[in-house]
Symmetry: C2
Subunit: 291 residues, 2 copies
Amino acid sequence: MSESGDPRPIGVFDSGLGGLTAVRELFRVLPGESVAYFGDTARVPYGSKSRETVTRFSLEIARFLMRQDIKCLLVACNTASSYALETLKRRFEIPVVGVIDPAAGVAVTGGGRGAPVAGGSPPPRIGVIGTQATVASGAYARALAQLAPGTTVVSRACPLFVPLIEEGWLDHPVLRQVAEEYLGGLRAERLDGLILGCTHYPLIAPLLQDIIGPGVRLIDSGAEAALATAGLLRRRGLLAGADQAPQHHFYLSDERLDFERVARAFLGRELPPTAIVDQTDLPWFERSIPH
Amino acid sequence: MSESGDPRPIGVFDSGLGGLTAVRELFRVLPGESVAYFGDTARVPYGSKSRETVTRFSLEIARFLMRQDIKCLLVACNTASSYALETLKRRFEIPVVGVIDPAAGVAVTGGGRGAPVAGGSPPPRIGVIGTQATVASGAYARALAQLAPGTTVVSRACPLFVPLIEEGWLDHPVLRQVAEEYLGGLRAERLDGLILGCTHYPLIAPLLQDIIGPGVRLIDSGAEAALATAGLLRRRGLLAGADQAPQHHFYLSDERLDFERVARAFLGRELPPTAIVDQTDLPWFERSIPH
């Protein structure tokens, strides 16, 4: 690291474009940092796939981002964080941050942007929503139990949220009906917080809040992971210097017709000047197709 | 081919398990034939991905099935048939059958199991529903225009049907609401036939018929492709002999927790005695993950 800070980019990956909600928070809290983002649009979604497959995909992507000389890796995908985080941490020397621990920490301690839980209060009651894989992995339940033994965890897989959000039906009555079906039963659980365990869900946060009730704090796992990444870079003296303009690179494993629309929805603004690279040099793209 | 017929299996592939609706028809019309089925559950779905990516995946799978010594290849996936069929036909010597032409043929000629269109009647009006990729490719529109110039084609992408069917919400009011949203506008089109351009859709055929109206003939693309495959094997003398018991093999690129339930829904019965092989020897599964 030079005196002018560490100019290397923060690596971020997700199964698709949902991880841009974490990038949005990185841009907000660390406007001087460069980001190298990878979205695995050729193999999205991960949420219905196995631990072995998600781990293999995650390792391939991490190796690709390592070749872009990243200084840390933010695993924005909840499914990849649930299944592959320990493997990634063992395999790479740079710091690796997942979405599970930061969100779980905020849920039980009121850290981050939330109000702290009062000492002596009963153990918290936390809801977790996510993909089938994230819920089946039990990763949030384990993290919550470790951070605050006695925490009650109520998990619910919501596999239709992602396709509905990707279809852009954010204001469609069908989305409300599906959300009511998934979450209506959670109202009786008297939750303190609800972890949005998928980076797509912040786009429907107002609807979720409406259904779960105003007393339940929503925790945005991607945003909390971005804040945790910022804290880690500060503590380790890895922030970029103020004298350099950030340079962002966005890589996708497959082109998407509606990329601009979806990216804008997740990022909350136009993409900054950037390189969109389809068909990257991941190993499976090196093979050519003879015609 | 020996006097006792050609015992080699019929190769079938799909992006996932939907292609089992075509296998169901193969089992019905060719009970003596062996089937080697590949479902790309690690990279499903194909319907939102690009031509290049879908073609690459299709070639990898076709090469895998060729190593299982198949005598013909049925491309049960509508997206793969739309994007990759010509490439597959050029690359392999065995007969390759897609779902587009058989379904289009039945739609405009009344061939197969339908009633023939009377001579001198006005050109048919055909609806096509499928994934975003199948509709965007224009494959059905081209096939229909070639078979019956003057045919009116009305296409509609229905990306939420697959996740709803996979979630098992077949009798849920949300499915009817989504179907009404997608297809309600087609009622005014006075269609003669509606091509179900995705192997998932036969599972919701009664609902689709109810919404589109009783006068519109539904055409099951997977079943029609199976019938076309049977006809091709008969014409070329490639049927298996009556003295051999069929042996089926089912390969998946990733395990699925709910495989049995979903497979039963598509196949209409329990899977026959078979080898379910997860993590097959496709190229990308040969790499090991160091832990």
